[in-house]
């Protein structure tokens, strides 16, 4: 079971916070802050989990998620989606697009950590 996480997020302070948390928990954290080439980044990096922000410059998180699910060997990749928009419709759309977990900002650190652990554990079991 690998322990690599790709964080796709554009807010520097949030990147720093999540990186700090996951690194201390033993995860190998890679970050990316542009939407346009995010899918390429995932395919190249082969992370065990992707944390994906909804609002990104260049391309929206929702579109990136759909693209990922359209790639054969990425269909089951755990994707944790974060959003600062508080709309219920976003959650529905994300679930329809095949999100693994959907979380609203601001989140509690423990929540994010638990989610990352659970999702990677589930993925390695199946």
């Amino acid at each position: 079971m690998g322990r690599s996480v790709l964080l796709i997020e554009d807010e520097p302070n949030i990147i720093e916070a999540i990186r700090f948390l996951l690194t201390r928990d033993g995860w190998e954290v890679d970050t990316h802050s542009d939407g346009t080439d995010a899918v390429e980044k995932v395919r190249a990096g082969r992370p065990d989990l992707v944390i994906l922000d909804m609002m990104l410059p260049g391309r929206s998180g929702m579109d990136i998620l759909r693209d990922l699910r359209g790639i054969d060997d990425l269909k089951t990749l755990p994707v944790l989606m974060l959003t600062a928009r508080g709309q219920a419709r976003d959650r529905e759309m994300a679930e329809k697009a095949g999100v693994s977990r959907f979380m609203t900002k601001p989140f509690s650190n423990a929540e994010v950590m638990t989610a990352v652990r659970d999702l990677v554990a589930q993925a390695s079991k199946s």
Binding site: M55, Q87, T104, F107, S108, N109, A110
Partner: protein, 892 residues
Amino acid sequence: MASLNLLLLVCFGYVALLFGVAFAADRMAAKGRSTWLRSPLVYTLSLSIYCTAWTFYGAVGYAARSGLEFVTIYLGPTLVMVGWWWGLRKLVRIGRSQRITSIADLLSSRYGKSNVLAIGVTILAVIGVTPYISLQLQSITLSFSIFAEADPTRGYHEDSSVIWVAAGLAVFAILFGTRNLDANERHHGVVMAIALEAVVKLVALLAVGIFVVWGLSGGVAGTLARIDASPIGHWRVDGGRWTAITFLAAAAFVCLPRMFQVMVVENDDERHLRTAAWAFPFYLLLMSLFVVPIAAVGLDLMPAWENPDLFVLTVPLSQGREGLAMLSFIGGFSSATSMVIVAAMALSTMLSNHVVMPIWLSSRKQGASQSGDVRKVVLLARRVAIGGIMALGVLYFQLSGGGAALAAIGLISFAGVAQILPALVGGLYWRGATRTGALAGLGIGFAIWLFSLLLPGLGNGLLSSKVMAEGLFGLGWLRPHALFGIEGLDPIVHCVLWSLTLNTMVFCIVSLASFPSPLERLQGAQFVNIYDHSAGPRGWTGSVAQSEDLMVMTQRILGAKDARALFQREAALQGGRGHLPEPTPAFLERLERQLAGSVGAATAHAMIGQIVGGSSVSVQDLLAVADESAQMLEYSSKLEAQSAELSRTAGKLREANEKLTQISLQKDAFLSQVSHELRTPMTSIRAFSEILRDTEGLSQEEKRRYAAIIHDEAVRLTRLLNDLLDLSVLESGQVSLNVSSGPLSQVLDHAVSSALPGDGRALTIHRNREGEEMTLRSDLDRLAQVFINLIANAQKYCDADKPELRIETRVEHDRLLVDFIDNGSGVPVDSQALVFEKFARVGAEKAGGAGLGLAISREIMERLGGDIRYLPGQGGGAFRVVLPGRGKMAAE
């Protein structure tokens, strides 16, 4: 000496002859062999009912009393026939095309089928003609008395005799005039009888004249000598009376109900007028030829107490010429009876059509259900009316004492009937004449005539001598023979002058001041322009009913299927030859009813009438059609208006809904944006505060760094909240401006130092200090806020290596322009329109603002009465701030 019995026998024999002629004429007319009945000669002779007992007896009396003035009575009609025959032709044309039954009907029809006017004219005519009827009664009674005095075998009472004469004439008129009820009110028999009487009276008068000239005076020379010797030769001519009476006679000739009856209603062909135009004046000439000789000889031979009105009778009698006297009597009798018959016929038609029938019809709820019913009522009404008219004549005879000169009585009638003239002539030639005007004119004329001529003529019973001498209510200007203080005029001239002048004036003024109804307008146009609307004289064309045409028309109205079914059903009912029925009256009636259900009764009638031919479409039909179409039009335009209203409302609703949806979408987007902008700093704050709380062994360096992040994000949050509140206040318009005066340079200094705090960053600012030397009057703090935002944006977004910002100031068209131009790459063309929208951060996402700065600036400039806009094509990011009136506020 002829006995009274013989006289009566001759009378009855004569009446029987008249009946025979009338009966035969009616029979011939019914058989269609009536060509000679409708000759111009008969028409001309029928006009001679103008010559009544007045002209037969009275003219001689008139000449004996007033000399040549009697000529005026003949002059009036002659002038009309010769000088106004085209006017008469117009009357005849209108009478035929509008199916006019009387002069009251004519005026009523012209003035919008007004029944009030018809009743008014009828009353005026009945009262106006009453003295005239009385005149006939008086002359017959007098002529009887001449024979009675000469016959001692029989007791004779003048008072009762007038009643007997009236009763006899009434029966005579009823038998003649109301035997049948002709739809078009034409009476061939009666016309023929009066034509015969016209010949009889002319022959009788000529016979007496010839006897007087050649039998008594020894020829023309002797007669002229006698005339010179008599007072007649010395009468001088009174110009006023001559003019007035000639005019009166002319007016009466046109307006008298009986003249209208024979001239217009009984007219068969308007071309007859052309013959009558010369023949009738010639007849009048013959009638008047021997008047002066008879009068002169009478004055010479007869004792002074003898009534000159009866010279025609008494001169032959005094010479022992009983046969001639008898002929003369029959002539006078003819004159009186023909007048009474036609007058009674005309008046009773008016009374029954305009007074009795409307009352009777409105008193019955269902209206006329059976035509036989109506027929009986009409005949009864006419007979009663004739009786009533004769009774009025008797009443007048007794009130007036029966002693007046015949001509004087006749002139009273003429003056009364002449009141119709203004409304009649106006109606024929002036489209602006209105019903109200006609009523008002008639009313005033009639009142003056009653007061100044009729009532004073009835002796002391009706108008007291006090009124005569001092005026009504003691007002001097209301004396019957000296109205408005004009004294010394002859009563007839006086009455004619005032009544007709005021009548005409009031008629014109009221007509101009009142508005005609649509029907009046239409009828007015029909009457005035009658020659445009009616064809010349022609008979009915044979009716060629076209079943196929009917079918086509019916299909158009009912639809092809229903029309075919209807026609097949009708064809089957008629015996089933083919599938088109014969156009029998019964079928046409059913078809009309069927169509009436779809297009209205009048339209259906008019449409069938047009196809079947026979009956032309009358004005009334067209009017009814117009009414129906107007109603339908009104209804459909109402519907149209309603549906337009509905679609307008629907459009408004759709628009409102779209706006609401848009606002709702905008609101959703805005809330979503706000949520994002708030949650992002809060996320950092929460995450780092949890790290600080939960993580042990953080270095001092790390702790300080994370606390700094928390602080910065908290500041960002606060700024965002402030901006949001600011924008909300500005957008709601509730912002209160703090207006003050100050130099522009100072405002810009403040803005630069606020936007670029502390040590100078990379942005270099170029300013034009000279241009900034001006005093502004505005909310300077708000203006500075806009400037700060623009300078800060330039600092954030200008991507040049050595970023520079030029601030240029100038005045143009009384407006102050402040441009902020940097040397970066500027705003992409497709985003230029968006930069002033909320959260519309273009380009660099990391600039740190909430994306509300320009939105707020735009709101501020709007409040200050100015503007802010992006300036494309300046080579870099460029914004222009515009202030009105050199910075003065528009709201000031």
